[in-house]
């Protein structure tokens, strides 16, 4: 894959953040944290199916499925780690429903592009980058 392309949902999420004054972006991030869906019963009962994202300071686990050419991403993170939940939520919403090629074409620096580097700090953004890279690797393995 030589070209990158930001899929529509992730582009909309990025633009929503960038349209807000920097001080208000944390509130939008909190909305994403609250929207992270619970994982399915099957995944909840089989934590070995998930992969820990070591780049995040809080325990976050992701699981990416590829079925019939469509990617679905699941993630869990504890309520006391809302930033991590929000990052997971953005990727779950932005990746689910894409084709494997579309996921692999997401620019690796997408997390740096959504206007949170100053509000959240570069180190914390690194956790989202780790999550994206691991999701892509799972797609590569499972496609």
């Amino acid at each position: 894959m030589s070209t990158t392309h930001v899929p529509d949902t992730l582009a909309e999420i990025r633009d929503d953040f960038l349209d807000l004054p920097e001080a208000d972006r944390l509130q939008l991030l909190l909305e994403y944290a609250n929207e992270l869906p619970a994982v399915s019963e099957e995944i909840a009962q089989h934590p070995e199916m998930t992969e820990r994202v070591a780049e995040c300071q809080s325990p976050v686990y992701i699981f990416v499925e590829v079925a019939d050419g469509v990617v679905t991403m699941h993630a869990t993170a504890p309520p006391e780690a809302p930033t991590t939940r929000a990052f997971a939520s953005i990727l779950v919403q932005g990746i689910t429903g894409l084709t494997p090629d579309e996921v692999l074409a997401i620019p690796d620096d997408y997390p740096q592009s959504i206007g949170l580097t100053r509000a959240v700090s570069p180190l914390r953004i690194g956790g989202m980058t780790g999550m994206l890279m691991r999701a892509k690797r799972q797609v590569t393995q499972k496609r």
Partner: protein, 298 residues
């Protein structure tokens, strides 16, 4: 001192400075009193927004206490602007609380101390205890009236150690390594389950005693008693009165917690936090490093 000390706790009374801690009961009874500002400081930048002690203001270590460019803390003007924005006056009583047994709260307290803010205390048990006791939290953002906090130049000399200080310090006094045993031994450069923060080598500074920060925390999430802390640091790590002590961890946050214990609860006079810590030492060229479970020598 603007607000009276919390004298309700027998545990606190044994500490060198009992007034450095407050109980959740005390804080609940004093919320809203003029001269008291409650500050939440967490690892997670959004945790405060999910609900906080009514009236408390947030201070974030990444985005507010650190200089955005240089690896350093804000300067006098930056600190004055920050505290003015948070509605804190120079003579206010500041009570800080946070997640993870007050790691980041202790870190914030240490930074406040670099600027000589006199009356700054921790909530024993931190955020978790307040919430587990079912006390009120709110998502309502406070709108404190801005104050005019004076520009006070930061004085690092008494409370902060730099790498070169530590190089010449080895062998002259106790060094306390508060990281996990795996980090101390050299099996890994980061805390278990924490992200890689860029240290090239693993191990510890020669002569450093391993006393993981969490040893100072009791099962109930508060600080251990004076007798327990004496056993850990005096008997266990061999720290004695009159010692010049330096504590370090990975970026200086966990060692702020230990710094608070040594300085304010046990009353050691000269305690410095080496905030460069392992992310600096473990990448510095030609500084001595020891691996394994023994402190080692220079």
């Amino acid at each position: 001192m603007t607000i009276e000390f919390d004298t309700s706790s027998a545990k606190f009374a044994d500490y060198a400075e009992p007034g450095r801690l407050v109980t959740t009961e005390w804080l609940a009874a004093h919320l809203g009193e003029p001269g008291l500002v409650v500050v939440e400081s967490d690892e997670d930048v959004l945790l405060y927004e999910t609900g906080h002690i009514p009236g408390s203001v947030k201070v974030d270590w990444h985005t507010e206490l650190n200089d955005p460019v240089v690896r350093d803390y804000v300067d006098g003007a930056g600190f004055a602007a920050l505290l003015s924005r948070k509605g804190i006056s120079r003579d206010d009583t500041v009570v800080i609380y946070g997640d993870k047994n007050n790691w980041w709260a202790a870190y914030a307290l240490w930074v406040f101390s670099l600027f000589g803010h006199d009356d700054v205390r921790l909530l024993d048990g931190g955020r978790d205890r307040w919430i587990s006791e079912g006390r009120e939290i709110t998502t309502e953002a406070p709108a404190p009236a801005a104050t005019n906090y004076p520009v006070v130049e930061r004085d690092d000399s008494a409370l902060r150690a730099y790498k070169d200080d530590v190089v010449s310090f080895i062998g002259t006094g106790p060094l306390i390594d508060v990281r996990s045993p795996e980090e101390y031994n050299g099996e890994r450069t980061t805390a278990p389950a924490y992200p890689e923060e860029g240290a090239l080598r693993a191990g510890h500074i020669p002569t450093a005693q391993s006393v993981p920060w969490g040893k100072a925390v009791a099962e109930d999430g508060g600080f251990r008693t004076r007798a327990e802390l004496d056993a850990i640091y005096r008997d266990g790590a061999g720290v004695t009165d009159g010692d010049d002590i330096v504590a370090y961890c990975r970026i200086g946050e966990r060692s702020s917690h230990t710094w608070f214990v040594l300085k304010h609860l046990l009353g050691f006079d000269k305690v410095r936090n080496y905030d460069g810590s392992w992310t600096e030492w473990g990448s510095a060229v030609r500084v001595p490093i020891v691996t394994g479970s023994e402190p080692g020598s220079l």
